[in-house]
């Protein structure tokens, strides 16, 4: 299976899993879907039949709330039956709402942010100490997760011990659970000169910025990370993947509502599936609705969705343009939030 096919299937499973389970975080799943698809189709070395194979690459999902997409990637990569994905969050299921290491292929249970990355650092450090050079350690972090101080403790440690066998990936979707990141704890500086990637560089890392939805760019970035490890053996690598929360379903994109909301029965579920089917790669069969959904109900103006727990302003389409950052210099309009261009 290629990364494009895997990417489509992960998104399709996420719609189904969050819908059935009434579970959160589909927006977070979607922003990192292409990263996971690239990793599992093109980058990571693993043996799905022997998940504990000693020379496997370690992948740690530090943003543990994006569990559905990881389970989907693992199932489609052969670690456990795809059919089991339907049990996501059900009573008695091992597919917990936050990433669980009870699931084959999962290295570490996560869910509290800022833990998985440090554990990945410890694994990379142990490998170095033991002379295990056959594998790499990868950790995927959310950009909101970079609010956590422990992330920067780990960044210091990885630099200090020259962990060139470590690759961090930041899912830079610019959005957290309540709001845009820049309205929460801004990761770039106030003058726009030093961006998140520069922070990592200042911590001694080699940083590569890519479009996190471009499968070719992602693959190249991971290849570059591998070359860096040899060219600059004193540096760990971070891939800052610029992404869009909710990417793949137009009405979920860049909207904080879909951090928590799940696709409800009716138009939300139907339209999500319909849109995914517009771009179904050849060779892929939808495991839930092989011919897609033809007739999609449209939302009502005062439907239940507007009463969801997100701020009502966040559901209005004009929301991003109206949001302003905290003004460092009052009286200017330079802090108007620019919506990320959807290149689709």
């Amino acid at each position: 299976m290629n990364s494009e096919q895997l990417s489509w299937l992960i998104r399709r499973h996420c719609v189904e899993m969050t819908h059935r389970a009434r579970a959160s975080h589909i927006g977070s799943d979607f922003s990192a879907t292409d990263i996971l698809a690239t990793l599992y189709a093109d980058v990571l070395r693993y043996d799905a039949k022997a998940p504990q194979w000693r020379d496997r690459d370690r992948f740690l999902m530090s943003k543990g709330h994006a569990s559905a997409e990881l389970y989907a990637a693992l199932a489609e990569s052969g670690f456990f039956p795809v059919e089991e994905l339907k049990t996501f969050c059900e009573n008695g299921s091992r597919l917990l709402g936050h990433v669980s290491s009870e699931v084959p292929g999962v290295e570490l249970s996560t869910g509290s942010l800022g833990h998985g990355f440090s554990v990945a650092v410890g694994m990379a450090y142990a490998a170095k100490k033991s002379g295990d050079v056959g594998h790499k350690v990868y950790a995927l972090l959310g950009d909101g997760e970079c609010n956590e101080g422990a992330v920067w403790e780990a960044a210091l440690f990885a630099n200090h011990f020259r962990l060139n066998n470590l690759v961090a990936i930041i899912d830079r979707n610019q959005m957290q659970s309540l709001d845009f990141g820049e309205n929460t704890l801004e990761l770039d500086d106030s003058e726009g000169r030093y961006r998140l990637a520069d922070k990592w560089r200042a911590f001694g890392w080699r940083a590569i910025e890519v479009d996190g939805h471009d499968l070719n760019q992602l693959k190249s970035a991971f290849e570059e990370a591998g070359e860096n490890a040899k060219k600059e053996p004193h540096k760990p690598t971070v891939v800052v993947a610029n992404t869009i929360k909710g990417r793949g379903v137009a009405f979920m994109q860049n909207d904080v509502l879909w951090h928590y909301r799940y696709p409800h029965s009716g138009w939300e579920y139907d339209d999500a599936v319909r849109e995914l089917h517009e771009r179904i790669p050849s060779g892929v069969v939808d495991p839930y609705a092989s011919s897609g959904i033809m007739r999609v109900a449209r939302p009502e103006n005062d439907g239940e969705i507007v009463d969801d727990h997100a701020l009502s302003s966040s559901w209005k389409s004009s929301y991003p343009e109206q949001m302003r950052r905290v003004e460092a210099r009052p009286g200017t309009d330079e802090r108007v939030h620019a919506v990320i261009e959807d290149k689709q």
Binding site: H115, G122, A126, A150
Partner: protein, 307 residues
């Protein structure tokens, strides 16, 4: 006690290269024998305890036996969630070592008083919790922990503790050890407070009471069999710890007594009275203020016995 810990660990780590020691930038002088003797198995993780615990977990999951060293509340409360989610949940072979349980760093202030750590660590599944009472117990704890896979907390005094007994026979995780034979009263001690318990016994002797004394190098799993048997035969069980009376060693014993079917013994829980100690003082002064010095312990026991 802390020197005994380092001595034992150096000896064990020379034989077993999987043993690693990580410090959170503390242990000046104390860790020197390990640092200099086994530099390849030593790491200073800096003043970054949360990362330190998770890094230790990652190393343990890759096959290392990792001892993490710091003082006071830094390796416990500061990074409690990392201990719970990373170490304990994953049954990682991480041994968290704290020097300075209780008021060992008395004059340094509340930030350095470790008086809630037992309660917090004891409540986390998979954790073994140990608090040796002297150098010999500390030595035995370290050796036992290396042999016992899984997460553990080792709470050490600062040093200079009185020797409890000549040689330890049959040391085992989860077993209490007798320190004195006696009658009517049984005194249970954990950690460095033994010094005070021992003085209390000498004072009580003058009053005609001869308590039996047991030390509990392991607080979790606690020696339930011993507690149940003492509860049948003795009139009073007194627990003593350099820790809050809420949730600690005394609570662990009280939990057993509350469920004991045949129980003669009344219970007395001695420790810190659920308050912060906001005045300066050395360990002896602060213990006396909380009534857990020899005199205080003896008085409370006399009150209880004489009604």
């Amino acid at each position: 006690m802390r020197n005994a810990f380092v001595r034992a660990l150096v000896e064990l780590a020379k034989k077993d290269k999987r043993i690693e020691l990580i410090t959170g930038d503390l242990g000046f002088g104390v860790l020197k024998p390990f640092w200099e003797g086994l530099p390849d198995q030593f790491t200073n993780a800096g003043v970054a305890e949360q990362n330190m615990i998770s890094v230790a977990t990652g190393m343990a999951l890759e096959g290392k036996t990792v001892f993490v060293y710091s003082i006071g509340n830094f390796p416990t409360l500061r990074c409690l969630e990392q201990i719970r989610n990373d170490c304990a949940y994953h049954k990682a072979n991480v041994k968290i070592v704290c020097v300075g349980g209780g008021f060992a760093y008395g004059p340094l202030g509340v930030s350095h008083h470790a008086t809630e750590d037992i309660a917090c660590l004891r409540a986390i599944p998979n954790m073994t919790v140990m608090a040796p009472g002297d150098a010999a117990e500390a030595d035995a704890c370290v050796r036992a922990l290396v042999e016992t896979p899984g997460p553990a907390y080792l709470r050490l005094g600062r040093g200079g503790e009185k020797k409890i007994r000549e040689g330890i026979d049959n040391f085992a995780v989860g077993k209490a050890l007798k320190a004195r034979d006696g009658e009517r009263i049984a005194l249970f001690s954990t950690g460095a407070i033994f010094d005070e318990v021992d003085s209390a016994c000498d004072l009580l002797k003058n009053e005609g009471f001869y308590p039996a004394v047991y030390t509990f190098p392991t607080i979790k799993p606690v020696d339930r069999d011993l507690v149940e048997s003492i509860a049948k035969d003795f009139e009073l069980i007194v627990t003593c710890e350099g820790h809050n009376v809420l949730g600690g060693f005394g609570s662990a014993i009280a939990e057993i007594l509350a469920e004991a079917n045949e129980r003669k013994a009344k219970a007395l829980t001695l420790g810190v009275h659920d308050r912060f100690t906001d005045i300066a003082g050395d360990q002896a002064f602060l213990r006396s203020r909380e009534g857990i010095d020899g005199q205080g312990i003896a008085s409370r026991i006399l009150e209880k016995m004489r009604g």
